[in-house]
Amino acid sequence: MKHARRPFQFVDAFYLVVVGLNSAHTLRDFGKQLGEVSQLCIFCHTFHSLATHHYTSYSSDFAQWTMAACNENELAEQLGAIDVRAFVDLEDLRSALVHVVDGYLAAHPASGERPAFEPFYFSETREAVLPVDRRASNLAEMSESLRHLSLHSLHYHFVNSRLRLHLRTNDFSYWIEHELGFPELAAQINLVDFYTNTLDEVRAEIIDCITPWIGR
């Protein structure tokens, strides 16, 4: 079994949401503020909300609000289709969001002025990271550790990692490719869909990917 020179160090990340002072009452206002709010705010309503919405139609707070509070389903679908996996920089993600909203409002100007059923409250995420007393040096240890990992830790390593690495990958795939030399497995894990699965299901799928490779 292949052993890594540098073991994978798990961390646990904890988040609290701070409600900002900005709120939007119309789509026009929403689009304007989207271009001005902090990056922490963009993170909160996209990357962070992915971990918390299992019962709403969209994991993006922006998409959910345009659907539920503005009744703009087409725009909601367009915003919901923006895949955070394609972004390693929050400014790029913001630009994509603003582009979609601006485009929609240009085509549907009347939609911009209708009062929303409830305001959108722009919020930010605060993060506290703690190292976990858990390391993995090979795939067997990685698989076992994943079973015991909290969902926040999984989200941190699998979803938020893209912003840290500035790569279109996750901590697990990056380590498996660079420390164990299994690019094929790394790519397979990177395809596990965190949009259509709960984090528990994501965990199970990653373990399923790893299992046949243990022992190589």
Binding site: T52, A128, L151
Partner: protein, 415 residues
């Protein structure tokens, strides 16, 4: 002075017992956070040890904090009936209800808090003050280096301007505030964290009960198990709109046979409840299918049994900080019909975890609809249970406070 006895209820089980519900990784996470806060001390302060959601949460969460090693104290402020009448008036005013403006009330409010400030000590690393009643205690932080948090459990979305302007300078002396919904925030000079209140799944109020016990409770109150039971559990408080629930029930009754249970009681910091109870008694007079149960605050098992026996649980509040009775019902997989106000909006996702309503008529219609569609009612109940499990259990409160303490200590370092 009003005495504040600690209510009799089952002791809090060890933290590891919660692993069977939330999973071992989530429990490990709590121990890890606790290690990061080793040797720290904290204090919770509120205005009642009995009755209402805040006292219930603190009764469960304080022992868990102690178990994980945080030196946690819980103090309850004292006050006479006049003080609590004033704080109830403030409470109603902050919820946007009518308010009779009197300067002497502000003076009395401050004087009573001054007395409590002199009686209590605030040397802990973290002090969490719950709700407006003890808000001015923050004056005690002068000269100390510890962290102060104001935890507001009430719906502040449309407060009476004069009362809010009076309280706001005190709020801004804290390091942070905690609210249950984004709609409750206001332009403030301090960060406003969003943390939901929670229930304890292993408390008498929520733990699984033997069917025989549930039957015995129904029998005790004369409720017919074979006919639909619609229940609202709440303090007898105008903001919970018990009269509106009776009106909705009467509309339902034109089409569907059912019984209505209004179960609740008072709290030691709510002198208005006996007046409201009398009004509800009057409104339900002559209907043998309305069960008006004014229960003592330690009736946890009875409340649990009534919720479990219910066909539908209603929460027709006019304003609501969060509505832990909604959380309790969702946890018990009950279909919930609730007003789309305040913190209820975080729990009841319309047509996913329950039905949101905005009027007596809407409430009546959704009750009828769910009585006619038991398969949908069951689906809502299942989704509601999972939603609570992921977001609104006592282990989340433990975690969120510990994260908050860490962030305060680290100067709220950003992500």
């Amino acid at each position: 002075m009003i005495a504040h006895p600690i209510p009799a209820q089952s002791s809090v089980p060890p933290l590891n017992d919660y692993a069977s519900i939330v999973g071992q990784p989530q429990i490990d996470e709590l121990w890890m956070l606790a290690r990061a806060l080793a040797n720290r001390s904290a204090k919770m302060v509120n205005s009642t040890a009995v009755g209402g959601g805040v006292a219930e949460i603190l009764n469960r969460v304080v022992p868990l904090f102690k178990e994980v090693g945080l030196a946690m104290q819980w103090d309850v402020i004292t006050g006479g009936e006049t003080f609590f009448s004033v704080t109830k008036a403030f409470h109603n005013a902050l919820h946007g209800m009518a308010y009779d403006d009197r300067q002497e009330w502000f003076d009395l409010f401050l004087a009573n808090n001054k007395e409590n400030q002199q009686r209590l000590k605030f040397d802990e690393d973290f002090v969490v003050i719950h709700d407006p009643q003890p808000l001015p205690l923050v004056a005690a932080r002068q000269g100390k280096q510890n962290h102060w948090v104001w935890r507001c459990h009430i719906d502040l979305s449309r407060p009476n301007e004069r009362v809010w302007k009076f309280l706001q300078p005190f709020v801004e002396k804290y390091d942070a505030t905690v609210v249950s919904s984004p709609a409750f925030t206001h332009p403030l000079a301090v960060p406003q964290f969003l943390i939901a209140p929670t229930i304890d799944p292993l408390a008498d109020k929520n733990r699984i009960l033997e069917p025989e016990f549930v039957e015995s409770v129904l029998e005790k109150f004369g409720i017919d198990r074979k006919r639909p039971i619609v229940t609202q559990v709440s303090r007898f408080d105008r903001l919970k709109d018990p009269l509106g629930v009776i009106q909705a029930y009467k509309l339902v009754k034109r089409y569907r046979d059912c019984q209505l249970v209004l179960a609740g009681g008072g709290a030691s910091d709510d002198p208005e409840s006996s007046v409201v109870y009398a009004e509800v008694q009057e409104a339900s007079k002559g209907d043998k299918d309305i069960f008006l149960l004014n229960l003592p605050p330690w009736s946890y098992l009875e409340i649990n049994a009534l919720q479990r026996a219910s066909t539908i649980v209603v929460q027709k509040s006019l304003r609501e900080g969060f509505g832990l009775t909604v959380t309790e019902a969702l946890w018990k997989r009950k279909p919930v019909v609730a007003s789309g106000v305040g913190g209820i909006l975080r729990q009841v996702l319309h047509k996913v975890t329950g039905m949101l309503v905005h009027s007596v008529e809407g409430c009546a219609y959704q009750i009828r609809y769910l009585l006619s569609n038991p398969a949908l009612a069951k689906r809502l109940g299942e989704a509601g249970h999972d939603h609570v499990k992921e977001n609104f259990l006592v282990t989340h409160t433990l975690k969120n406070y510990m994260v908050l303490f860490l962030l305060l200590e680290r100067g709220q370092r950003n992500s």
